[in-house]
């Protein structure tokens, strides 16, 4: 069934009153039928409505049609869960239970998600505080089955997360991932702080995705303020987004080479990643591009001399990069270690709604730049890169293709940067509206959903990082592999803990 069209598009807001309000049962049926019909659950969240009720808001997207739709329902302390018929909703419903104190009845895998006290619950829902230690890990029984626990404190300088393997010999039978150690209350901060401070929080949602999150944050506010950016500002945003993608993809390929002990590629790619971060620093004064994306446009213009210099640097990078990638992908031992490891199946991807390069590596061609185009991507089309095997090699190949296409895009944009003011005044937000801003960050789809109240203040700011969807993919990809392949698998996803934990 196709949900009714209310004109909701990526970065085009609609009145909050236009969102259909259904009974919990009809709401569930709408979402389940739409998902069965090729729609995807992009966000599902709760907003406190009165002292004893919560509004559930679902944002659905259809990638082939390029359409978005919203549905809502008012619920009390409990409602019938969608998860049994719509596995995509599983993790969202765990989140709603934790944030709003609403119980999805019949949810098959109800567990804490981030282990924090409810921060979006109605005033009348005063419950007992969350027990931060309580987390039931599913264990397997049997004589020769053993359990391996890794983290949350790791040997390297990485973020905290707990991984529990059920193994038979060296073979992994099941993996459970426990996150939440990095929870900072990002959504509450975005809802309560003034715009300047919220902007800095948005840049810190995930430290390696500064441009992606800042861009989605601004996109939502600009849609609610009817702010129009100049073509130049949009082009500079696109350039920054692709530089961020380039830096991270190069770094990941280098780290994957390092994980299979192929040091030459690890060293060269590590250095080339630095070149991309330095390009972002030249533009914005910060290696991750902080300070660049601002409501109404960009904080820094690109003078002519800088444009020429960046174009030269990227052209040189393209020349230096090609032989390194040939070397790495042509090496038989690298291929042997990448191939057939950590497979995500097409079916799993469709069922669970994975996004970004994880989806594209199993031939699910989801890409916001292509499916829900915005800004500069309405004019400059970046071809969608896909692979079919869903393994570590496929995820490496997708990165390799995207590196080439981002470089082509960058050099093309820098050759003909449109004119216009870098930044215009963003203005006040319209009251009682709903906006969805999607950005294709380097990991995948970043969604910021913002609802304003009658005074034009932010009533709800929902953030969905691609890692939120894709951590489940890592848990599904591991069974059947050797424990010793976990670091390589993990790196081939390279998911964000901070982005998931918010």
């Amino acid at each position: 069934m196709t949900p009714p069209d209310h004109g909701l598009l990526n970065r085009r807001s609609i009145p909050w009153g236009a969102v259909p309000r259904q009974s919990p049962e009809a709401f569930g049926a709408t979402v389940i039928e739409a998902v069965a019909d090729g729609w995807r659950l992009m966000a599902l969240c709760g907003l406190p409505e009165s002292d004893s009720t919560v509004v559930l808001l679902a944002i659905l997207g259809h990638d082939e049609l390029g359409r978005l739709a919203a549905a809502s329902a008012v619920v009390g302390r409990e409602y019938p869960a969608l998860t049994p018929q719509c596995p995509e909703a599983g993790i969202f419903e765990r989140e709603i239970a934790e944030q709003c104190g609403v119980v999805p009845l019949g949810h098959p895998g109800m567990k804490p998600l981030r282990r924090h006290d409810p921060d979006h619950a109605p005033a009348g829902f005063a419950g007992r505080p969350t027990d931060r230690e309580a987390y039931p890990v599913s264990a397997l029984a049997g004589d020769d089955v053993h359990e391996v626990a890794v983290g949350p404190v790791h040997a390297g300088i990485i973020e905290p997360g707990h991984f529990r393997f059920q193994a038979y010999g060296e073979e992994v039978l099941a993996l459970e991932i426990v996150l939440g150690y990095q929870h900072r209350g990002v959504e509450r901060l975005l809802e309560s702080l003034d715009r300047d401070r919220a902007m800095l929080v948005a840049e810190a949602i995930a430290g390696d995705t500064v441009i992606g999150h800042a861009e989605a944050f601004c996109g939502a506010l600009e849609a609610l303020a009817r702010s129009h950016k100049s073509p130049r500002a949009q082009a500079i945003r696109g350039i920054a987004l692709e530089l961020e993608r380039l830096a991270n993809h190069l770094g990941d390929l280098g780290a994957m080479a390092g994980d299979v002990a192929y040091q030459p590629a690890a060293a060269y790619l590590g250095r080339l990643r630095g070149e991309c971060l330095n390009a972002l620093m030249t533009i914005s004064g910060n290696r991750y591009g902080r300070g660049l994306i601002r409501p109404g446009g960009v904080g820094f213009d690109l003078p002519e001399a800088m444009v020429a210099e960046l174009r030269d640097r990227l052209t040189r990078l393209r020349q230096e990069l090609a032989p390194v990638l040939d070397l790495m992908f042509g090496n038989a031992s690298v291929q042997a270690r990448f191939e057939g490891v950590g497979v995500v199946a097409w079916q799993q991807c469709r069922e669970r709604g994975f996004v970004g390069l994880v989806a594209r590596a199993c031939e699910v061609g989801r890409d916001v730049r292509h499916d829900h185009p915005y800004g500069v991507f309405r004019f400059a089309h970046v071809p969608v890169a896909t692979a079919w095997a869903g393994d570590v090699l496929a995820r490496a190949l997708v990165r390799r293709l995207e590196i080439h296409r981002s470089l082509d895009f960058l050099i093309e944009q820098l050759a003909a940067l449109p004119r216009g003011a870098p930044r215009t005044d963003c203005g006040a937000l319209r009251p009682n509206e709903l906006a969805v801003a999607l950005t294709e960050g380097w990991r995948g789809e970043i969604a910021h959903v913002v609802v304003t109240d009658q005074a034009g203040r932010v009533r709800r700011h929902k953030v969905v990082d691609p890692s939120f969807h894709n951590w489940q993919a890592l848990a599904l990809a591991l069974p059947g592999n050797q424990i010793s392949d976990f670091p390589l698998c993990n790196k081939s996803f390279n998911l964000s803990y901070a982005g998931h934990d918010l």
Binding site: P160, Q182, L200, A204, G207, G251, T282, Y288, L327
Partner: protein, 142 residues
């Protein structure tokens, strides 16, 4: 093997001259902020009220102080001063031995210094800097 050697030769050696030479940063790089209080009009509190972080604070004597520990190095933290009293330099050195040393009236820092000889001789080989991530955005680690 030949391809590898050819690539190795083409990539060359790419290390910077640091610490023998000071590193160079681009023009827009935002390093250690400094405060020139001679620009501050009497009783002005605009920076402390408008800044998105607590980089600039007014102490009990009405004097503006910089707390570099609260600085996010965003452009807005210095542009909130309408008198141009605060600006970023291109100095990248920010490490101090104590948290309190990051709070200064001018932005000049007493930088952390090397271990003294005796301590270094006794403990030098067992001292390691360890970074544990807890509640960050992963920017420092990435």
């Amino acid at each position: 093997m030949l391809t590898f050697l050819r690539t190795r030769f083409a990539q060359g050696t790419r290390t910077t001259a640091f610490p023998d030479q000071a590193p160079e940063f681009p023009e827009r790089f935002r390093g250690r902020p400094v405060l020139d209080s001679s620009c501050c009009p009497e009783g002005c509190r605009e920076c402390a009220e408008r800044s998105p972080t607590s980089l600039i604070r007014i102490d009990a004597n009405g004097r503006a102080m910089l707390d570099l520990g609260a600085c996010q190095f965003s452009p807005e933290e210095v542009t909130t001063c309408p008198h141009g009293a605060v600006r970023y330099t291109r100095d990248h050195r920010l490490a101090t031995s104590r948290r309190d040393d990051l709070v200064t009236p001018t932005g000049e820092l007493e930088l952390a210094h090397a271990l003294e000889q005796q301590t270094r001789r006794l403990f030098g080989r067992s001292l390691r800097l360890r970074s544990v991530v807890a509640g960050s955005c992963n920017g420092c680690e990435a």
